[in-house]
Symmetry: C2
Subunit: 314 residues, 2 copies
C-alpha cells in the first residue's frame, strides 16, 4: 500500500500519469533499454546500433531486415548483435522497438508488429514525417504497447549500413511528437533515450511537425532536386562549388524521399505554393527602379541565415 502511494506520488510529481502506464512503470525510469530491436538496418538504423554500442552500455541490439546480406554487414560492422529476416524473433523480448525503414513501409510494419508485442514495450521511429505513423500506431498497437513518434534530424545523402556512423545522431536535434494519447512515462523514456545518444530534444504535435518540416526540410529537398533537373547538361559544366553545396541533399536516397514527399504531400504542396509566391515577389523586384527593395530582400535572407548560425547547436 505504501509502495502504491509512493508510486502515485512519483507519477504525479513527474507528470508521468497516463491511462495505461501502470504495470510497466518501473522500468521506464531506467534510461537505457535492456534489449532494442532496430527494424530496418540502413544508414539510420545502423548508425543507431553503432551509437548504442558506443554509449558503452550492455543493451542487446537485434536487427531486422528483408535481406540476410544487410544483416550480415550490420553484424560485421558492429551495428547489431543478432539479425533476423522475420519480425517475430526480431522483436521478442525487446523493451524498445525502433522503426528505421523508409516511412512508406511503416503502415504495414506496424500492422505486422501489433500482435507480436508484449504490454510494456515502447515503440518509436526515426521517420521524417509524423502524422501518418503516429495515427496508425495509436490505432493499431495494442493497449499497453506505447508508441512515441521521434524524428532525429540526422542523416546523410548516402544510404546503406556501410555508411553508418556512430556519431550521426550526436549533437543533432530530435523532435518528439506526443499527442494527448501518448503515455507520459514512455515519452520521458524515449526522450532520455535520444539524449543518451547525445541529441537535443524538443516536442511538438505530429501536425505541427509535418507542416514545419515541409518548409524547412522537404521543400529544400524538392528545390535541390528541381534545380538539378532543370539544368541543361552543358550548363552544368559551369557550375561552381555553391551549386554543389546547394544541391547536396538532392543526392539522397530516392525511395526514402519519395515516401516522405507522398506522405507529406498536402503540406509540401502548400510549401511549394509559398515558394512560388516568394519567387514572384523576387521577379517583381528585378527592375532597376526596385534596386533598394531587391537589396533589402537579399539582405533579409543573409541576416536571417546569419542569425541561425549564431544559435547554439548549429
Amino acid at each position: 500500500m505504501k509502495v502504491r502511494r509512493a508510486q502515485r506520488w512519483l507519477l504525479k510529481s513527474f507528470n508521468l500519469h497516463g491511462p495505461d502506464n501502470g504495470p510497466s512503470f518501473r522500468y521506464y525510469r531506467t534510461m537505457q533499454p535492456r534489449q532494442i530491436s532496430i527494424l530496418g538496418v540502413g544508414l539510420l538504423g545502423g548508425s543507431l546500433g553503432l551509437a548504442l554500442r558506443n554509449a558503452a552500455n550492455d543493451c542487446k541490439i537485434i536487427g531486422y531486415s528483408h535481406r540476410r546480406s544487410t544483416l550480415d554487414s550490420a553484424i560485421r560492422l558492429g551495428a547489431i548483435h543478432q539479425g533476423y529476416e522475420e519480425l517475430a524473433p526480431a522483436v521478442r523480448g525487446s523493451d524498445l522497438v525502433v522503426l528505421c525503414t523508409p516511412v512508406g513501409l511503416f503502415p504495414n510494419l506496424i500492422k505486422e508488429l501489433a500482435p507480436l508485442l508484449s504490454p510494456g514495450t515502447i515503440v518509436t521511429d526515426v521517420g521524417s514525417t509524423k502524422e501518418t505513423v503516429v495515427s496508425i500506431a495509436e490505432e493499431l498497437l495494442p493497449v499497453g504497447v506505447h508508441f512515441v513518434g521521434s524524428h532525429p534530424m540526422a542523416g546523410s545523402e548516402k544510404r546503406g549500413v556501410e555508411h553508418a556512423k556512430a556519431d550521426l545522431y550526436s549533437g543533432a536535434l530530435c523532435i518528439l511528437t506526443p499527442t494527448p494519447r501518448t503515455n507520459p512515462a514512455a515519452l520521458e523514456r524515449v526522450d532520455s533515450f535520444w539524449k543518451s545518444l547525445g541529441m537535443r530534444t524538443c516536442r511538438i504535435s505530429p501536425e505541427e511537425h509535418d507542416r514545419r518540416l515541409a518548409d524547412v526540410s522537404h521543400l529544400p529537398h524538392a528545390l535541390a532536386a528541381a534545380l538539378v533537373n532543370l539544368q541543361d547538361p552543358q550548363g552544368l559544366n559551369l557550375a561552381a562549388k555553391g551549386f554543389l553545396d546547394l544541391t547536396r541533399i538532392a543526392g539522397g536516397d530516392s525511395i526514402l524521399w519519395r515516401d516522405i514527399f507522398l506522405d507529406n504531400r498536402q503540406n509540401l504542396l502548400q510549401s511549394i505554393d509559398r515558394l512560388k509566391q516568394e519567387l514572384d515577389r523576387l521577379a517583381s523586384l528585378l527592375d532597376p527602379a526596385q534596386a533598394e527593395a531587391l537589396q533589402a530582400w537579399l539582405q533579409a535572407a543573409a541576416s536571417r541565415r546569419q542569425a541561425m548560425l549564431e544559435k547554439p547547436g548549429k
Copy 2:
C-alpha cells in the same frame, strides 16, 4: 624592315593578328604583367593580390578603392603594394587592369577609365555577368586598349578584404567571354594570367555565359534567399544541417547580388519561370498513383549530381 616582316610572321604563326595589336605585341608573350591595377579591393580583388604575391613573381600590385581604410587594410594584409583613392594614379603604368568592384559599378568605372589608359593596356574583370560589361568596354575603351571579359568562378559568402585568401582562385574555373572584336593576343594573355593563378579556363560568348550562369549560379542564389525568406521564424529552429548547406550562398553580399540580378534580369526571369515549371511537374507527381514517376524524378536529380561530383575539378 626585316624586323617588321619577322613580326608579321610571328603574328600570323601564333594567330595573334588583330586590328590593333601592332605596337604592343611584344609584351603579350610574357605570361605575367609587370604592373597590375586591382580596381576594388574586396574579397575578390584582395584575393587576387594575395594570389599574385604567392605566385612569387615581381609584379607590382596597385589597388584602388573609394575608402582609404580599405586600401590600408589591403596593404597591411599584403594584398597590394600601393593604394589610391583616385583612378588616374591607380592605373598609371599598369599593363593589366582588373575590375573587381560589384558589377553595377562597371559602367561608370569604364567611362572614367577610358581616357586614362595607354594603348597596349589590357583590361579584364571578375564580374559574374558579362554581356553588359563586355559591350560597354568594347564601346568606350579607346583603340589599342584591349578588353577581355573574365569570370573566375570563385567566391565566398563573406565579403571584404579581411576575408581574402591567396588560394581563392586556385583549382576553380575561369570563364573567358571573347567576342569577334576581342584581340586574340590579349585573350591568350588573360587566359595564361588566370592559369598562372592555378585556374582552369574555358571560353564562351558573353550571351551564352549570362544565359547559362542564370541557371547554374544566379537562380540557385535566388532560390536560397527565397527559401530563407519564406520561413516562419519558429520553423527555422527545426532546420537541420541540410538547410544550412543549401542556403549557404544566401549569406552572400547583398549589394553584389543585387547588381548581378539586375544586370542579368532577363535571363534570371526565364530561369525562374523554368524552375516554376519544374515545381509544377513535381506537384503533379505528389500522388500515390505517380509513385514510380516521382521516384524517377528524384533519382534523376541524384544521378546527375553524382555525375557532376565524378568530373575532374570538382
